[in-house]
Amino acid sequence: MALDKATVTRIAALARIRVQEAELDPLQASLSQILGFVDRLAELDTEGVEPKAGVLSGLPMREDVVSDGNCRDRILANAPAAAHGFFTVPKVVE
């Protein structure tokens, strides 16, 4: 299935990826090519087939208890910006 430019722009916005104007044409072409390839699945009749998210089932659950924590500084060690023990982001509330 061929995507139009507006759809490519919409997907990029959904994925929170800034796409430069010059990238739009090649992206439109390669995304359309990949979707054309995967469209092959439409040939198959899968009526009534149970979809599987993975190959395993019935795995044990661990006990619902705290097993980790108290490591704020280690969590913040890789933060691009932190202050007073918190991550910081641009202002979102005026």
Binding site: R16, L27, Q33, F37, V55
Partner: protein, 489 residues
């Protein structure tokens, strides 16, 4: 002692225990080999000081007679495994300066078994690729060259740095990860052995996630025995990974001597794809003949959905990737590119932090999961996955293992297939179905192409029956007598 790096992992283990040489000498030989093969760009980060410190500890234990499973054996680790205090990049700009405050379970298992870290190897960015040419840290070169042609070749991917390091004798063995062929295809391209274990055999905890229902860690080595040794140390149940399966870890090395006489070996007719390279077809036939000569019975089988595995994979893997990679938002770790709003910060960070192939796959994944397309793409692919799992289950009711080629070609020159994503994706046509079904599969070098490049065969087993895979692999290895010689020799 300059040739210690030529030893197999098993021979190095035995030599250390006999005190023929020390762990320090073994590490030094590998550091020399790493320096000599620097132009391959197999490593993103080298950790020589840490390697020498670990060697000192191993030598002390060896002297006390307290050697553990992998005591003193220097290994390389794909830069997708988090290593505490050692930069872990996933070959991405977005994680370019990330220093994990924790250790992945699989690497922790290796260090507890006495292994030594030489460095972190290059890969396709976030393990998305089949050529190790999408890394933010440059291409890795295959140590092999075509006869009479000096163009640098890709090592395959995504675990191309690990494969190149092992082939170049810069590590006794290495860790890779395999989501659609990322251990087996580079193993085939570089003339080494690579195993993707059963899904759930090795913990995924602390491995940078690509597609969580498909990713699996595995060993890359120069012999089947070495892969068996390494897997034993890597594997095991981990409560921190809910998809890690609580089953005992067998002594895989013990399975190597098992007879293949009487085993039924499936040969799937759908893998004879149109336009198949006659060299690959001949190699496959040789493999069938070798197993027949060893007393196994080849059986033609059908895996009717084979043709649909790659399209299903290219919906499922990007869908999972788009979800997994949502965490790279410029807030908690990794690259941040400023913007005048929070959304602008996200978009700038992700637009500049991810390379072209990763951006493309995230967008495909976002699209197939988006409202209105979920059923037509993602749900459909999950249904096809069910059918592929059933195909293999039917086949394994009649056979003990399946033999196929690993890849449709030998290594190709760097730069080829770069413009056409589908041509690149087709590298994984024989390996992807195995990931969708969660099965174990081994690639081993079985011969050379007419122009002198290694070609691999793939042995697929039932879930959690790596032992049969190893025994069939060992029989093929004996018959192929592929000399793990220097690739340039």
């Amino acid at each position: 002692m300059s040739t210690l790096n030529e030893l197999t992992l098993a021979a190095a283990r035995d030599g250390l225990r006999r005190k023929d040489f020390t762990a320090r000498e073994l590490v030094e030989a590998h550091l020399t080999a790493m320096a000599a093969s620097k132009s391959l760009n197999a490593f993103i980060s080298e950790t020589p000081e840490r390697a020498l410190a670990m060697a000192a500890q191993s030598d002390a234990r060896l002297a006390r007679g307290e050697a553990r499973l992998l005591e003193g054996l220097p290994l390389a680790v794909k830069d997708l495994f988090c290593t505490e205090g050692v930069r872990t990049t996933a070959a991405s700009r977005i994680l370019g300066n990330f220093i994990p405050p924790y250790e992945s379970t699989v690497t922790a298992n290796l260090w507890e078994a006495g292994a030594i870290l030489l460095g972190k190897t290059n890969l396709d960015e976030f393990a998305m690729g089949s050529s190790t040419t999408t890394s933010a840290f440059g291409n890795t070169e295959n140590p092999w060259r075509r006869r009479g042609d000096n163009r640098p070749l890709v090592p395959g991917g995504s675990s191309g740095g690990s494969a190149a390091a092992v082939a170049a004798r810069a590590a006794l063995g290495a860790l890779g990860t395999d989501t659609g062929g990322s251990i087996r295809q580079p193993a085939s391209f570089c003339g080494i052995v690579g195993l993707k274990p059963s899904y759930g055999r090795c913990s995924r905890w602390g491995i940078v996630a690509f597609a969580s229902s498909l990713d699996q860690a595995g060993p890359m080595t120069r012999t089947v025995r070495d892969a068996a040794i390494l897997l034993r140390a890597m594997a095991g149940h981990d409560p921190k990974d809910s998809t890690s399966v609580p089953v005992a870890v067998p002594d895989f090395e013990g399975a190597l001597g098992r007879e293949v006489r009487g085993l039924k070996i499936g040969v799937p007719r759908e893998y004879r794809v149109p336009g198949m390279d006659p060299e690959i077809e001949a190699l496959w036939q040789r493999g069938i003949d070798w197993l027949k000569a060893a007393g196994a019975t080849p059986v033609e089988i059908s895996l009717p959905l084979t043709h649909y595995a790659l399209p299903a994979y290219y919906i499922i893997a990007p869908a999972e990737a788009s979800s997994n990679l949502a965490r790279y938002d410029g807030v908690r770790f990794g690259l941040r590119v400023q913007g005048d709003s929070l959304d602008a910060l996200y978009e700038n960070t992700r637009g500049q932090g991810f390379g072209a192939e990763v951006r493309r796959r995230i967008m495909i994944g976002t699209y197939v999961l988006s409202a209105g397309y979920y059923d037509a793409y993602y749900r459909k692919a999950q249904q096809v996955r069910t059918l592929i799992i059933e195909d293999f289950a039917k086949a394994f009711a009649a056979v003990d293992a399946i033999l196929t080629p690993t890849a449709p070609s030998a290594a190709f020159p760097i730069g080829e297939k770069m413009e056409d994503p589908i041509a690149m994706y087709l590298n994984d046509v024989f390996t992807v179905p195995v990931n969708l079904a969660g099965l174990p599969a081994l690639s081993l070098p079985a011969g050379l192409s007419a122009d002198g490049l290694p070609l691999g065969l793939q042995v697929i087993g039932r879930a959690f029956d790596e032992e049969t895979v190893f025994s069939v692999g060992a029989a093929l290895e004996r018959a192929a007598a592929f000399e793990p010689r220097g690739p340039r020799g």
